[in-house]
């Protein structure tokens, strides 16, 4: 189906099902219970899961396949956001033209930056992309204030022309929509004591994320994808095999830049403002961490990594000392206070410390990311089921090492 073999079709259907049922799956705890704060099924966060999933899927096409580590992908995210907001100001509050422009402009940006940065490889490539991203950040922050509105960030105003749907006086800022259906409109359903929110914005981003995932799946299985893996494996052999590696890496760079622009455009579509901080190097670093944490070069890994980090950022960070006190209140005071103090370092504002530890553990013990962890568990379960005879070492050849020996 859709140019995929049976296994991939099944895989895609599972991904589609998971994405569509996210508002239910992420709301496992009854409303009002102590665990309710771990529910992640609210629109704002679910939109972020989908949008940063797209960002990481795109980044993975460059980093996971070709091995070129870009430290400047947030620049494309920012460019996408600015383009989208300008579309909202000038043309229409419909998100379709905004997203299209975001993808086109970030693609052109990626072509220019990639053309220069890809003259070098390895660490020099990373540094070049980082330099370009920081230049873009500074341009947005101060130099190009007329276009980007500097520190304040680009926002909608009451005086925006909006050629297509801006007729007549308005008293409040309009909301983004898709052919009249507002992004922030939601339907809430209460079932079994749980409150499920079905939000238009989430489903728009989810459908686009599924399309983005499908496209990346096709690229992974295509000759083009194979060439990108060849770039990572041995560029010398590739060139002596009659293939020009430069346009392949540039194409991968532009495609991943367009994914980032799409993510940026969607961010602006959910919340129509764009700030320079979206382009800062920390934002570029975040997508690198997402991809490595989930598993670079795997299809699902980057999405998993993106979800994981966004969950930590939004849920884990809410567990402050008060919450911890209520958890440990059953302990004697002398014991509760130190425990609360200890846990507070890793939760609430200290969530980045937890992320850092997680990242270290994954990089050291699971170089293939969370995906490798899942695969190892799967293998372990299968071996248990097969019984001891399958432990024959003859049938379990040594795994290929991750680093050249």
């Amino acid at each position: 189906m859709l140019g995929l073999n049976n296994k991939d079709t099944k895989f895609l259907l599972i991904v589609i099902a998971l994405t569509l049922f996210t508002p239910i799956l992420l709301q496992p705890f009854p409303e009002g219970s102590a665990m309710a704060q771990f529910n992640a099924g609210y629109p704002d966060l679910m939109q972020r899961f989908a949008i940063f999933g797209i960002f990481a899927i795109g980044f993975n096409i460059l980093f996971g396949l070709t091995g070129y580590l870009s430290f400047g992908h947030a620049a494309f995210l920012g460019v996408g956001s600015y383009s989208a907001v300008w579309m909202f100001k000038l043309l229409s509050m419909n998100i379709i033209p905004a997203i299209i422009l975001a993808v086109i402009v970030s693609g052109i940006f990626a072509l220019a930056i990639g053309f220069i940065s890809l003259r070098r490889s390895g660490i020099y490539f990373s540094i070049l992309t980082l330099a370009f991203a920081q230049m873009s950040f500074n341009l947005a922050y101060s130099v190009l204030t007329p276009i980007t509105n500097g520190e304040t960030g680009l926002q909608l105003t009451l005086k925006d022309p909006r050629i297509l749907d801006g007729a007549g006086e308005i008293t409040s800022l309009p909301v983004t929509n898709i052919f009249g259906l507002a992004m922030n409109s939601s339907t809430q359903i209460e079932l079994f004591g749980r409150l499920f929110t079905f939000n238009v914005g989430y489903y728009v981003t989810a459908v686009i994320a599924i399309l983005a995932f499908y496209l990346s799946l096709r690229i992974f299985r295509s000759p083009f994808g194979m060439m990108l893996r060849a770039v990572k494996s041995n560029q010398q052999r590739m060139n002596y095999t009659g293939l020009n590696s430069r346009p392949y890496t540039l194409a991968a760079f532009v495609i991943s830049g367009m994914y980032a622009g799409l993510a940026g455009g969607l961010l602006a579509s959910m919340d129509p403002l764009a700030g320079a901080e979206r382009m800062q190097w920390t934002a570029s670093g975040e997508v690198v961490i997402m991809t490595i944490l989930g598993g670079a070069g795997t299809l699902m890994g980057p999405v998993l990594g993106a979800g994981f980090i966004k969950y930590l950022e939004n849920i884990f960070s809410k567990i402050n000392e008060n919450v911890l006190h209520s958890w440990f209140s059953w302990l004697p005071d002398g014991l509760a206070d130190p425990l609360v103090w200890l846990f507070a370092r890793f939760t609430g504002e200290g969530w980045t410390l937890t992320l850092g530890l997680m990242f270290m553990l994954v990089v050291i013990f699971l170089p293939g990311g969370l995906m490798e962890g899942g695969q190892r568990i799967g293998r372990l379960l299968r071996r248990k089921k097969d019984g001891p005879e399958s432990k024959d070492p003859e049938h379990h050849p040594k795994q290929t090492p991750h680093v050249a020996e």
Partner: protein, 252 residues
């Protein structure tokens, strides 16, 4: 006129004259060996032929066209394939993918954005790749990771990757360097077999006299960046100049 004509090629690295004034003519469908002691300039010469180095003087013509100033991938597309001293393969990819990549390069040229096709559905490529793997007896290893192959198998795989492109000229840079006697003999057999089955010109750079004399139809002896003699193996064997270059001075 040979298929490969090297005329007055010189290459200098700083104070070192790596190649003096090299003239070489490789005849079509022959197996031409270039031998010489360490530092004779064999590898420099080869690198000048494949676009890795650009000689300071002289010309290199392949089938009537100059290769100078062209990039390695352009020279490969002209019909020159190269086997490296240590096998260069795509270690992270499977054996089957390793031989499919040169098939794509041959069919689609140096670059094509074939992002919406599916590798498994390219029937002609899959067939061609299976065929060549069968030829080198590696079909049973097709799903293995290329990095996990034995040294000998890596060499066979690299040969297969070059041959599947049907090159007009195959350059081999010390294909038996660091191999055991048994592996060396296997490689000699493999090369003989290739030569028998196909219309192909081979130029081989080699250190090992045993390999050279069991394979070559013509031999060029290189010493200190200049060719000493070019002749048939029989005549080279007893040539006093060759003995001198290898042993330091004339025997006796």
């Amino acid at each position: 006129m040979g298929i490969l004509e090297v005329k007055n090629v010189g290459k200098r690295f700083g104070g070192l004259q790596a190649l003096g004034d090299v003239n070489l003519s490789v005849q079509e469908n022959s197996l031409h060996a270039i031998i010489g002691p360490n530092g004779a300039g064999k590898s420099t010469l080869l690198n000048c032929l494949v676009g890795k180095l650009i000689p300071d003087t002289g010309s290199v013509m392949f089938d009537g066209q100059s290769v100078l100033g062209r990039k390695p991938h352009e020279i490969n597309q002209m019909g020159i394939s190269r086997v490296f001293q240590t096998p260069e393969i795509f270690g992270d990819l499977t054996v089957f993918e390793n031989v499919m990549i040169p098939c794509f390069a041959k069919r689609d040229g140096a670059f094509r954005l074939h992002a919406f096709e599916t590798v498994a559905r390219e029937k002609d490529i899959v067939e061609k790749a299976e065929h060549i793997l069968d030829d080198v007896n590696m079909l049973d290893k097709r799903h293995m990771n290329a990095a996990s192959l034995s040294r000998g198998d890596k060499r066979r795989l690299e040969m297969a990757m070059c041959l599947v492109q049907d090159p007009r000229l195959l350059l081999l840079d010390e294909p038996t360097a660091g191999m055991s006697r048994a592996d060396t003999n296997n490689t000699i057999e493999l090369l003989k077999e290739i030569k028998q089955k196909r219309d192909i010109t081979m130029a081989i750079i080699e250190h090992d006299m045993h390999v050279v004399f069991s394979l070559a139809e013509r031999i060029t002896v290189l010493a200190q960046g200049t060719p000493l003699v070019e002749d048939t193996p029989e005549n080279i064997k007893g040539h006093p100049k060759v003995q001198e270059a290898y042993l330091g001075q004339a025997h006796g």
